[in-house]
Amino acid sequence: MILLENLHKSFKTKGGPVHAVKGVGFQARDGEITGLLGPNGAGKTTTLRMLYTLMSPDQGRIEVDGIDVAADPTAVRQRLGVLPDARGVYKRLTARENVAYFGRLHGLDDATIAARIERMAATLNMRDFLDRRTEGFSQGQRTKTAIARALVHEPRNVILDEPTNGLDVMTTRGLRSFLRELRAEGRCVIFSSHIMQEVAALCDRIVVIAHGEVRAIGTPDELREQTGLADLEDVFVRLADLEEAQA
C-alpha cells in the first residue's frame, strides 16, 4: 500500500528553476496494478524517485505500508522493489551474480538468494543466460536481470519505471503475465509508461500525469466515460492536454 500526498519538487537549472512535480498525489492499493501514465517529461520518474527515497520532496508526504518515507527511509526501501529508469547492470558479473549481489545488500542469506533466483529464472524465463556475463546482453535480457535484481527480496511493493521500454512483443507479454502474478500474490504494483495501450492492457487503475500534475485517476472505463471518448489513445491525449501542447 502506497500513499502519495501533494508532492512538489523543483530543480535548479541554468535557465532558472524548473517545477517538475506540482502537487502529485494518489494511492496505490495492495493486489492492484496502478499505472502511472504521462508523456515524456511529465514528472513520472521524479515522482517515483521521491517514492523510492532517492530524492526528498520539497513539500508533501509519502507513506509505504503506513511508514512515512521521511521518517524511516531504510524501512521503506526494504519494502520496495525498484526497477529505476537507470537500468545499469554490472557487465563483468553474470546475471546470477548481479541478482545475488543485491540479495546480499538486502541482507538475505545465500540459500535464500539461490532459491529466489531459481524461482525468478523460471517465471522470467532467464535460464538460458543466467550464468553468462551480462556484457552483450540484449535489452530484454538486461531488463529481466534488472527486474530479478529488484525483486530478489520479494518486496510487498513493486515500482517499475517504464519496464517495457525497448522490449519486443513476446518479452512484453511475458513481463505482463509476470506482473499479473505479482498482483495475484497481493502485492502493490506501480508501473509507469508513456503508452496508453500498455497501461490499459494491465492496470486496474490509471493515474494520468502531465506537466507535473495529476490530470485524472480511474479505471480505463471510468476514464473513457469521463472524457466521452472511446479510443484510449484519444482519452490519454485529451487528459494530458497533448493537443494543446502540440499547437
Binding site: R49, Y52, T53, L54, M55, S56, T74, A75, R77, Q78, L80, V82, L83, P84, D85, A86, R87, G88, V89, Y90, K91, R92, L93, E97, Y101, F102, R104, L105, H106, G107, R133, A146, R149, A150
Partner: protein
Amino acid sequence: MKTIWTVARKELVDLFRDRRTMLISLLMGPILVPVLILGIGAMIESRMRTQLDSTLELPVIGAEHAPNLVAFLKGRNIEPQPGPEDPDALVRDQRADVVLRIDADFGEQWRSSRPARVELIHDSSRQDSRIPVSRLQTVLAEYSGTVGVLRGISRGVSPEAGFAVHVARRDVATPESRRGMALAFLPYFLVFFSFLGSAHLAMDSTAGERERQSLEPLLATPAARAAIMSGKILGAWLFGTLSLVLMLVAFKLSLAFAPGAMQMINVSTPVMAKLLLVLLPMVLIGTTLLTLISATVKSMKEAQGYMSVLMLLPMVPTLVLMVNPVRNELWQFAVPFLAQNQIIMKLVRGEVVSAAEWVVYMVAGLGAGLLLWAIASRLYLSEKLAVSA
C-alpha cells in the same frame, strides 16, 4: 559491516575480471621500477667510473709556456690536447668539459717565484662536467702545493710555515645514509604508487558506476550509503595495498641486483614491512580522496581531469626539499606527503624513527584519511549523486 564486505568483494571481482585493466594497474609499476633502478643505476655507475678513471683529454692553450706543468698533468692521467682558438665557444657548445689556458707570462712569473696564472674555462651549470673540472682542480692544487713546498725548502723555510690552517675533514655520513642519497627518488616513487595505485578502481566504482547507470539501483537498496561507500573504499584500499606490496617486492628484488652503491641499500624484510606500514595511511588518503572527488564530478572524464594535479602532489615535498632542505622536525611528520618523504628517507638511510615520530605520523595520516572519509560519506548522501544522467 557485512554490506561493506559485500560491496568490496563485488568491486574486486568486477575489477579482476577486467584482466587487462587489472594487469596494467597492478603490474606496470612493479615492472617499471626494476628497469629504472637497474638501468639508471648502471648508467650512473658507468659514467662515474669512466669520468674518474679514464684519461682526461684536456685542451690546453699556451702549453709551451709551462712544460713542467704539462708534464705533471700527463703524470696524473690528464692528456693535454692542442688548444682551441675560441675556448669559450668550445665549452659553451659542450664540445669540451673544461679548457686550461696558461698565461704567456707564466714562465716569467714562475721564475720570479710569483703566483703564476692559469685559467680554467668551464660551465658550472653543466652537471656532467663536474667530475672533470674537480679532477683538474685537484691536480693543479697538488702541483701548486708541491712546488710551493720545494721553494720553501730551498729558502730554508719549513714547509709547514706555508700552511696557516690545516683542514681535516671528518664525514659523519654512515654508510647507510650515503646509500640513501642514491635513492632520492625512492620516496616519490613509493608515495606516488601508494597514493594513486588504486586510483582507477576508486574513480570507476563511484564516477564510473554512476555513468553506467548502476548507481541508482544500488542506492535504492536498504543498505546504508556510508556502508556502500566504505565498501568501495575498502575494495580500492585492498587493491592499492596489493599493488604496493608487489611494488615493494619489486624494489627488494631489483635493489638486490642493482650495481654499486645501491646494492647496499637496506632492503631487509623488517625495513620493507615498516615501509608498507608507513604507506598504508597514504593508500587510505588516496582512495578516500579519489572517492570524494568522484562523488562530486559529473562524469568519469571530469574525475580523470583531476589526475594530473594529483600526480604532482607527491612530488611537491621532493621539489621543495631539493630547493630548500630543512632539518627533521616533529611537525613535518604530520604533513601529508612531506611526512611520508621524511620517514621513508629515515628508514632507507637506516636512521631510527622515534616513537613520537611514529605516533604523530600515524595519527596524522589516519586522521587525514578519516576526515576525507567523513566528507566523502556526506557527499554520498547528496541527491545529485544518485541520479544519473
